[in-house]
């Protein structure tokens, strides 16, 4: 069948997936259209509720890239600090790492294997 990708323990077909997504999506849309009766457009219900404060202007609300995932990097500090330290940008280290890995592989391949 067209679009059937055998993976050894199952299969994947993009066509079937799309059909399923379309079906589920239409069901969802149908349910959504039923909707809440009391909702009306252009009333107070439209506005977002941010802990009761007025909404910020759009220019200030844009989150710049270095602040996204700040929490993640802060939490994984113990992992990130040595990792970033490893990337020194020093050309000696570049060649050094190559030699280190070559030495390890030479031991693995040359002695054991």
């Amino acid at each position: 069948m067209l679009g059937l990708l055998e993976t050894g323990s199952g299969f994947w077909s993009a066509i079937i997936w799309i059909v399923v997504v379309l079906v589920i999506g239409s069901i969802v849309i149908y349910i959504r259209n039923k909707g809440e009766d009391s909702y009306k457009k252009n009333t107070e219900q439209d506005k977002p509720f941010i802990s009761g404060n007025p909404e910020k202007s759009k220019e200030n609300s844009h989150l710049s890239a270095s602040h996204i995932y700040w929490g993640l990097t802060e939490a994984l500090k113990g992992y990130y600090n040595p990792l970033v330290k490893m990337h020194t940008g020093n050309i000696n280290d570049y060649s050094g790492w190559i030699i280190v890995i070559t030495a390890i592989i030479l031991i693995m391949v040359g002695v054991s294997g």
């Binding site: 030699i99 280190v100 390890i104 030479l106 040359g110």
Partner: protein, 88 residues
């Protein structure tokens, strides 16, 4: 710390190279030489050149030579491109 790791790795690498040098076949006595004997015997009759090295370079392995001339061309274009607009 890093220097020590690198130093140890360098020593290991170097010792493996030494091992390979000692394990290499004896200097001056090639074990197999079929390909080269073919070149030595047939180069004169096939290509008409007295210099076997040249006939290997330009006939039997001519494509290498093209690649090698290309490397030189690439380097020249690279150098000229790097210093383009340098007037003096």
């Amino acid at each position: 710390m890093k220097k020590i790791i690198f130093g140890i790795a360098f020593i290991i690498f170097f010792s493996f190279l030494i091992v390979s040098a000692i394990n290499m076949r004896t200097f001056g006595e090639p074990t197999y030489s079929e390909m080269d004997d073919y070149f030595i015997e047939n180069a004169q009759s096939e290509t008409g050149a007295n210099n076997v090295v040249t006939s290997v370079v330009f006939d039997y392995r001519g494509f290498d030579t093209l690649g090698e001339a290309t490397v030189l061309f690439t380097a020249v274009v690279g150098v000229v491109a790097l210093f383009r607009g340098v007037k003096k």
